[in-house]
């Protein structure tokens, strides 16, 4: 007997729950100092501050970003019918880089001061604020340019996205030549995907954005399944193709925007977690979407814990964006070879 999609999704989530719990356990127990859990719970300082104001917010941040990027990756791969689509395919990485570089360029000018106060108003740093503005503007631009005669052409949108990202990286290199070099470098390193410590209201807001986006995409999952048949095939089965595309595009962009604002461009998660989940759970988006959310969250929490530990002796840590690929690429190839 075929189980219903809801039952299969529940099984997948139950299977991933211990992995997620393990990742959270590792994430909370690793850090620069030693932490006594009982002392922290009794409110002894500095253990309580380390647990409640540093490690828990950091794990929550990694979970939100991992989940957001993974569901966006699933949606964009379905929407563009392309397995190589990642969350930044609509020019988001290029847009974020331009935004971040410009935020350094205008530091100290009237525009810079206005940007600082606007970003401070919503609790973000100027660089984060500029990166998210840039990435969202770029995604709307690429989405618009990818349309012709009232509908989105996946190949066209992909090409425009790739071209835009190249243009953007050229622009950023040119900007870097004009600006104070050491400053742009530091900002672009942040852009490579860095998890920091965000204030609680920012985390709550980002979590809400990702949760709503994931819910919308899960609700659209059945229609995303049918998009695999091609636009005509899906339309013949009663799917409003354009509406589905538009809705899932906006939901995915919102999730990626939240992730970019908090951490820059964390690569690999959004590309590979969806594929890993599909390899195990099959192609049904009604299962893949929720499972990718939980799997992506677990993966990034773990990758961040490892990033923190990797260079501890040197008193520094690599951007988590580098660790995701270092850790994920071999794992993924292993999984791929096992399954096929």
């Amino acid at each position: 007997m075929r189980r219903s999609a809801a039952v299969r999704a529940a099984i997948a989530l139950l299977a991933l729950a211990p992995l997620f719990a393990l990742a959270v356990g590792v994430g909370l127990s690793l850090g620069a100092g030693t932490l006594s859990l009982s002392a922290a719970l009794r409110g002894v300082e500095p253990d309580a501050t380390v647990l409640f104001r540093l490690r828990i917010p950091r794990v929550v941040l990694a979970a939100i970003v991992g989940a957001g990027l993974s569901v966006a990756g699933v949606a964009l791969q379905a929407l563009l019918r392309n397995p190589l689509a990642d969350p930044f395919v609509f020019g988001l990485s290029g847009g974020a880089a331009i935004g971040a570089a410009l935020s350094v360029a205008v530091t100290g000018t009237a525009l810079g001061v206005a940007g600082v106060s606007a970003a401070g108003w919503i609790g973000l740093l100027p660089t984060q604020f500029a990166a998210v503005l840039g990435s969202l503007a770029a995604s709307v631009l690429v989405f618009t340019l990818g349309r012709a005669r009232g509908r989105l052409h996946p190949e066209r949108a992909l090409l425009v996205g790739v071209v835009f990202n190249s243009f953007a990286s050229a622009l950023v290199i040119a900007l870097e030549a004009v600006l104070a070099p050491e400053k742009t470098q530091a900002v672009l390193l942040w852009l490579a995907g860095t998890l920091g410590y965000e204030p609680q209201p920012v985390l709550v807001a980002a979590g809400a954005v990702v949760l709503v986006a994931a819910a919308i995409l899960t609700a659209l999952a059945g229609r995303l399944n049918l998009l695999a048949l091609g636009d005509e095939g899906a339309a013949a089965l009663g799917v409003d193709v354009e509406r589905t595309r538009l809705l899932s595009f906006f939901a995915a962009s919102a999730a990626v925007g939240a992730a970019v604002a908090l951490t820059g461009l964390v690569g690999f998660v959004g590309l590979v977690v969806p594929h890993a989940v599909r390899l195990v759970a099959g192609p049904d988006h009604r299962v893949v979407l929720p499972a990718s959310a939980l799997g992506g969250a677990a993966f990034l929490v773990l990758a961040d814990a490892i990033a923190r530990m990797l260079f501890r002796g040197l008193g520094t840590e690599p951007p988590v964006g580098a660790v995701t690929a270092l850790l994920g690429a071999p794992l993924f190839v292993l999984l791929l070879r096992r399954r096929t």
Binding site: L54, V113, A186, Y197, E317
Partner: protein
């Protein structure tokens, strides 16, 4: 609203305070830049330093715990040292980590150290924060006296055109508005970098050649061997300043000024 106001102020001022108020008696200090550690040491408060960056190379802090770098202080490590004051240098790239420190309850004072006025203000104000205001004022006076002495001596000497080089690929030079450029003026030299806006500015090789410097001073690093540091300047004398004193905006600038005078005179550079 207060946060927005604070940030607006922060953009306009060279000194900023974040987090809870600094206690009247500061006993445990963490610094996030080597020059700031040197200021604390010069104030005679080295025994109150409990953590420094991984870039700190002063032998007096060799045994102290490292809290990370200038841009990536590790909040857990800082917190574990129980500081009642963290002293930082404000910059867009370390803003996130420094705000985190303030949010978890550590008083942070940040001082811009781009020009000599800012450096001297920082020495005086850090002195006040540490309860030794007279030492802070003395540091300012010492540096000023030293500069006046060098200026008086320089008035008798030749006015050379000099370029202070801090990076070669791309070429980065000291502009007249930063502390290095101001010290160069004290030596009586003319800054061949022109009137660059930034303390440390990029310059094209062509512009450097057109500026016709008599002396090129390579500051704090070794140029690659086997070829001219800057092509097209066969007549300029190139000297290398191995001492890093000129790179540390703090009390070591007096020493850096002497190094610079020696280098410009063509004595064996320190």
């Amino acid at each position: 609203m207060t946060r927005v106001f604070a940030l607006l102020l922060a953009a306009a001022l060279t000194r900023q305070h974040l987090g809870p108020p600094v206690p009247a008696q500061v006993r445990r200090v963490v610094t996030l830049a080597p020059s700031l550690s040197e200021i604390v040491l010069a104030l005679g408060a080295g025994d109150r330093l409990v953590g420094v960056t991984r870039f700190d190379d002063d032998p007096r802090v060799a045994a102290l715990p490292r809290v990370g770098g200038y841009n990536d202080p590790e909040p857990e490590t800082v917190l574990g040292l129980h500081p009642d004051l963290v002293i930082a240098q404000p910059a867009p790239e370390n803003r996130g980590p420094v705000e985190t420190l303030a949010r978890i309850g550590i008083p942070v004072e940040a001082f811009a150290l781009d020009d000599l006025k800012e450096v001297e203000d920082a020495m005086e104000q850090i002195g006040a924060l540490l309860g030794v205001p007279e030492r802070g004022r003395a540091l300012r006076d010492e540096l000023e006296r030293h500069r006046a002495g060098v200026r008086a001596e320089a008035a008798k000497g030749p006015r050379r055109r000099a370029l202070l080089v801090f990076g070669l690929d791309p070429l980065v030079v000291a502009g007249p508005r930063g502390f290095a450029g101001e010290l160069l003026r004290d030596t009586g030299a003319v800054n061949a970098a022109g009137d660059a806006e930034r303390p440390f500015a990029r310059m094209s090789v062509e512009a450097a050649v057109r500026a016709q410097p008599d002396v090129v001073v390579i500051c704090g690093f070794e140029p690659p061997p086997g070829r001219p540091a800057i092509p097209g300047l066969p007549r300029a004398r190139v000297t290398t300043l191995r001492s890093t004193a000129l790179l540390h905006p703090g009390p070591r600038l007096a020493e850096g000024l002497d190094d610079l005078v020696a280098a410009l005179r063509g004595k064996r550079a320190p």
